[in-house]
């Protein structure tokens, strides 16, 4: 409705006592740049303490955390899958092959239909960045991270996080995410949950009920 658009814009101009004004974008940019940001942007912890905090926060959300090294990553993934008796597991497209255990057969994401997602035992992805202070994993849904539905419909999500991907603060994460600002982004903080009934936290409503995080040092 083009007339509603014009009417709303006009009402805004008169409400803010500005006429239609060609310099508005430039002045807005100038004023915006002048907004003070005195909050903490950069973290203060060293690498070890940061990782420790991240794992601590994940535990708070009832996520299951395993630490490993790059060399033992495939074996660790195999162990986690076995531990939970997972057989039908979907690997996100673009996941580095050397990361996956050879003796385990994965279904490729591109070959998996909705039914497969609905019935499988779990999925494996990597992430773009992780935030220690909030225990958050961020997927920008690039290679190895899967389309959004991949980490949504199945009951179990195994996510591989490398130590260098972990930042301490939310602003640091946004700095790293800037190049992906127009990708679809999913911030995941623990398994899906609700507290709508008597404020009792229940894990796993519609998203995965279980989140396994493999941290690679």
């Amino acid at each position: 409705m083009p007339d509603a658009r014009d009417a709303i814009l006009e009402r805004i101009c008169s409400a803010t006592r500005r006429g239609a004004d060609e310099n508005a974008p430039a002045r807005a940019a100038e004023e915006f740049a002048a907004i003070a940001r005195p909050y903490l942007r950069a973290g203060r912890l060293d690498a070890e303490a940061r990782l420790h905090l991240f794992i601590d926060r994940l535990h708070d959300y009832d996520a299951h955390v395993v630490e490993t090294s790059a060399d033992s990553l495939p074996r660790t993934i195999a162990n986690v899958l076995q531990q939970h008796g997972q057989r039908k597991v979907i690997a996100a497209d673009g996941l580095p092959h050397e990361m996956l255990p050879r003796d385990f057969e994965f279904l490729a994401e591109r070959e998996a239909g909705i039914e497969d997602l609905n019935e499988c035992d779990g999925i494996v992805t990597v992430c773009t960045v992780a935030i220690a202070s909030t225990g958050t994993i961020v997927l920008a849904h690039g290679p190895g991270e899967g389309a959004r539905r991949l980490s949504l419909i199945p009951d179990r999500h195994l996510c591989v996080v490398r130590a260098h991907q972990v930042v301490e603060t939310v602003p640091e994460a946004f700095d790293r995410l800037a190049p992906s600002a127009t990708h679809p982004l999913t911030f995941i903080s623990g398994p899906s949950a609700t507290a709508d009934i008597e404020m009792t936290r229940i894990r796993g409503v519609h998203g995965p009920r279980f989140l396994d995080v493999v941290v690679v040092r």
Binding site: I12, T16, I35, P38, R149, S192, H206
Partner: protein, 481 residues
């Protein structure tokens, strides 16, 4: 243009609506329990955030700035969203918005939609409007589902069913989902909702959501949620429609680093809620093929025009002010006659309605200031309440009845906070003969209407605000302000 906010034009006054609620002991227990739990969790995660006040300040500055250039940022959003394959629509009022959404749904051949909890669609009465057009709307947020199946009204803006306890929820699900053996553990109830909705997530072609934030710079939309029902609605359908108030826009992607720290801590007392989703227009091979945003005015531009009340539009709908409000905690949100309740409801509903309805709402407060203390975007709700009380009385001055006259006198007093405080002090000196053991009984004359609702606590020797000021002064003196 006809501005409508839920059913508020037909709603009884706050004071009238509150009466039966105050007698519902179960409801008051449920509300008190829920708000106590959230407040405690909030206090913990706010206390550990050393830069909380700095985050609040930047958020408030960012919102104030955005509102000054609202037209510019909306146009920027429209351009970026359109370039990314989205379509932007503008709705002057609730009916406009509902019609646009219904036309879109029908245009895509749909007669069913799945919905993420959106206060904005409660505001416009979207579900009823869709039903009128033969389109069935399924709420997918657990609390909204409880409300929808129980044919109830939302009592809270974040947890709309917090006035219901587990056995009440079980009764609703038993009957409407045909599950006679359903247990009443929250686990059982949640599992029942999961089964009930999963089939709909995989089948229904159109999703409807609101927006927590619209990013002008990138044209992205951000949704904050817990259950994953949001992610389902955002990614599974072929068509996605977002209904968003024009005040939801923020300038840049980076601004989210501030708001995404404030919102979850304030709303649910979590460091971060389980899921935040951001998307920009349409993404190839991932999610809906068609994306529409409906930008809604419905009275927001008249709020913008009132310089003293404009800060109302900073609100990010976290509900911290509800949980902290001593009045809300007694009555629940059901007394506010609108989908917006508590202190924010008391200021936003009458303003959207241009003070033509909901005039009792600015009086639904003791002006204790707790709402301002907890507001993550620093809206000075008591100040706005006092300002609106003044407007109510001024705009009723044509009505020459005694009540209006009394209200007018009140308006002169409420017009400035300092004068209001002076009046409170004066009141303390003058109330002597009316007080019985610290409580006012039935007051004579005009004020009697009000004390019939409940005993009015006699003005304490020190008001909350005086105490607060004194406390700050003392702290300063002892060196740790």
């Amino acid at each position: 243009m006809t501005i409508r906010v839920a059913e508020s034009a037909q709603a009884p006054s706050f004071q009238k609506a509150a009466l039966p609620l105050l007698e519902d002991a179960q409801l008051r227990r449920n509300v008190r329990h829920a708000t106590d739990v959230i407040q405690l969790k909030r206090a913990q995660v706010v206390a550990e955030t050393v830069d909380w006040q700095e985050l609040r300040t930047t958020a408030s500055d960012t919102k104030a700035h955005t509102l000054r250039y609202l037209d510019h940022y909306l146009l920027q959003f429209e351009k970026a969203c359109t370039a990314a394959g989205g379509q932007v629509h503008w709705a002057a009022d609730a009916d406009d918005a509902n019609r646009i959404v219904a036309d879109l749904v029908r245009g895509y051949g749909g007669n069913e939609v799945i919905k993420i909890k959106t206060m904005t669609s409660d505001e416009t009465g979207l579900n009823e409007a869709l039903e009128h057009e033969g389109i069935r709307a399924h709420e997918t947020d657990l609390a909204e589902l409880i409300i929808q199946l129980g044919r109830d009204r939302p009592s809270h803006i974040v947890a709309p069913a917090l006035h219901k306890n587990r056995s009440q929820v079980r009764e609703i699900f038993r009957e409407t989902m045909h599950l006679p053996d359903l247990g009443d553990r929250p686990e059982d109830l949640t599992a029942a909702a999961r089964r009930y909705l999963r089939e709909k997530f995989l089948r229904v072609k159109v999703g409807i959501c609101g927006a927590n934030f619209l990013v002008a710079e990138t044209g992205s939309v951000c949704i904050v949620e817990s259950e994953g029902n949001g992610r389902m609605c955002l990614t599974m359908p072929e068509v996605l429609i977002s209904l968003a108030g024009i005040e939801k826009v923020i300038p840049s992607f980076q601004d989210l680093e501030v708001f995404l720290q404030l919102l979850p801590r304030s709303a649910t007392g979590e460091r971060m809620n389980p899921y935040n989703s951001l998307w920009t227009g349409v993404h190839a091979n991932d999610g809906p093929k068609h994306f529409h945003v409906v930008l809604l005015d419905n009275g927001r531009t008249s709020v913008l025009a009132d310089a003293e009340a404009r800060q109302t539009l900073h609100c990010i709908r976290c509900a911290a002010c509800l949980n902290a409000c001593p009045v809300y905690r007694q009555t629940s949100g059901l007394a506010y006659g609108s989908s917006y309740s508590g202190p924010i409801g008391a200021i936003v509903t009458p303003q959207l309605l241009n003070m033509e309805h909901g005039q009792s709402l600015p009086y639904a407060s003791s002006l204790c200031g707790a709402c301002y203390e907890v507001c993550p975007v620093k809206i000075d709700i008591p100040e706005v309440l006092i300002h609106l009380r003044g407007r109510v009385v001024r705009e009723q001055k044509s009505a020459l009845d005694a009540e209006a006259l009394a209200m007018k006198m009140a308006a002169a007093i409420f017009a400035s906070r300092r004068r209001f405080e002076a009046a409170q002090r004066l009141g303390r000196l003058a109330q002597g003969p009316l007080v019985r053991k610290g409580w006012f009984g039935n007051l004579p004359g005009l004020l009697g209407n009000w004390t019939r609702v409940r005993d009015l606590r006699a003005l304490p020797p020190q008001t909350f605000r005086e105490w607060w000021k004194q406390r700050a002064k003392n702290a300063e003196r002892s060196g740790h302000a």
